[in-house]
């Protein structure tokens, strides 16, 4: 009896490791196939359109809530310090360096990732994936690789949108609600934020989009059980993505400060 319990414990301890291995194996497969085999453009374009369509409205709303709140509160702080003319600089830091990529993550994981995971999980449950394999079509080449490329592309585009939207929204907030001089706002943006920072921001968005797509695809293709299983898969995909991406964001930020 004792050894049986031991085996069960070992089994459940080994499970996360096995999942991690599965994710890495799928990523490697996808990378190799991306470089060696034919790329299905049609699927990638359709997926990019699909992700962009489901993400656009949440992006704008989350950006409004997130970036504008930070700019609003920091302006209160700056007003007390008597440094309101730095409002633009802070808006640049907020929307381009930190919040832009983060909102991109939340939206790509929460909107695009969930939709992608639900779609793939539904196909797995309906045994469409198994049917594809029987027909000799590799689901990684036909489904996963185009989705990863599409998610990365869309997160880059959304990141630009969020950075620009944050700066413009911050302008209206600072100038019309909190009495910052328009010229001072514009002039202080480049104080803290330049081309290298924008580059890092885009790099973050790229990495985030990649991770979100990989986790969503893996969880969608490895779904088990009926309707509860599909719901749980989508839920886990988005939880895991957000939980993984926040530490990744910290690491990139620390490396950026050490290098730049």
């Amino acid at each position: 009896m004792g050894s049986e319990t031991m085996t069960t414990v070992l089994e459940s301890a080994a499970k996360p490791t096995r999942v991690l291995g599965g994710v890495l194996a799928m990523t490697l497969d996808a990378l190799v196939i991306l470089c060696t085999r034919r790329f299905s453009w049609r699927e990638a374009v359709q997926q990019a359109w699909f992700i962009a369509r489901v993400s656009l409205v949440p992006t704008l709303l989350v950006m409004l809530g997130f970036t504008l709140l930070v700019i609003f509160e920091v302006n209160l702080l700056l007003k007390d310090l008597g440094a309101l003319d730095l409002a633009g600089g802070i808006a640049g830091i907020a929307s381009v360096q930190q919040i832009g990529p983060f909102v991109t993550v939340v939206v790509v994981a929460g909107a695009g990732g969930t939709a992608m995971c639900a779609d793939l999980a539904a196909r797995t449950i309906r045994e469409e994936i198994a049917a594809m394999q029987v027909l000799g079509i590799d689901p990684i080449q036909r489904l996963v690789v185009p989705r990863i490329v599409a998610a990365v592309l869309v997160s880059l585009v959304l990141n630009v949108l969020i950075c620009a939207g944050g700066l413009v929204g911050g302008y209206f907030f600072s100038v019309y609600l909190q009495g910052v001089t328009p010229g001072a706002y514009l002039a202080s943006i480049p104080l803290f934020t330049g081309l290298p920072e924008l580059g890092v921001s885009m790099f973050k968005a790229l990495v985030f989009g990649l991770i979100a797509a990989i986790i969503a695809c893996y969880r969608g293709l490895n779904v088990a059980g009926g309707s509860k299983g599909v719901g749980d898969a989508v839920n886990q995909a988005v939880v895991i993505t957000v939980a993984v991406l926040v530490p990744v964001s910290l690491s990139i930020t620390l490396v950026q400060f050490a290098v730049l």
Partner: protein
Amino acid sequence: MSLTSPRLGVLRDASIRGIDAIGAHGVFYARVFKSIPRTFRHHPGEILRLIAELGTGTGALALVGGSVVIVTSITFFAGAVAAAQGFESSSSIGVGSLSPLLAAFFTARLSTPLLAGVALSVTLGAATTSQLGAARISEEIDALEVMAIPSVPYLVTTRLLAGMIVITPLYVFATLGGFLADYLLLVFFYDVGQGNFSHYFFLYLHPLDIVFSYIQVLGMVVVVMLVHTYYGYTAKGGPAGVGEAVGRSVRASLSGVMIVNLLIAMAIYANFNTFHLAG
């Protein structure tokens, strides 16, 4: 072209569906709030069970410690990002030793409530949609109604109340996680100095800020539970429909949570600013 042209018809149908959806949400939320007394009378045990379940999570998420651990780790890393950015920006204008002040300000007021909102929506919220959606698809909700148990108080209102109760310990851990990250990063990574840290950090950490951010989080959890239960309760279309409902609900609640947070924060801080550098 008259009004009956197909394109106009599609547009008209879409706008009617939009108005319909707003009405359906409103009616559902009204039913949820109306059944609060009934829920307290008839299902106190279910509320307790759900508190335990929401706090620890189910399935694979319980393996890593459930919602508490996930929410805390998210606010921990967000606090660390805020502290790092605060230190770098303030030392670039030569006031790096003031960075604990910035950390206290950003962590208590911004990063903890915002990130807790995102984390709540993806942990508690998405799990709720998935549960209720599965119950709807496997006709468990219809079975409840057949047994003359009103499903909204039993399934939905209990979840709303459990979420509002479980948020208190969750919020405590989330806030402490953020502060711990500030401390570790500034003192051990950036060498700000422990005395300097505790002086400036506690000097500018206004207790009311924490109360306000708790109010923000409480507002967000109400929105999260309402939106997610709605999408779960009305899921349709087989197993695939549950997945779709989870995705839809995460999109809706993320947007809702952020807007609600912005409105609460503006209502509080625009009229009542607790931050005074000069005392």
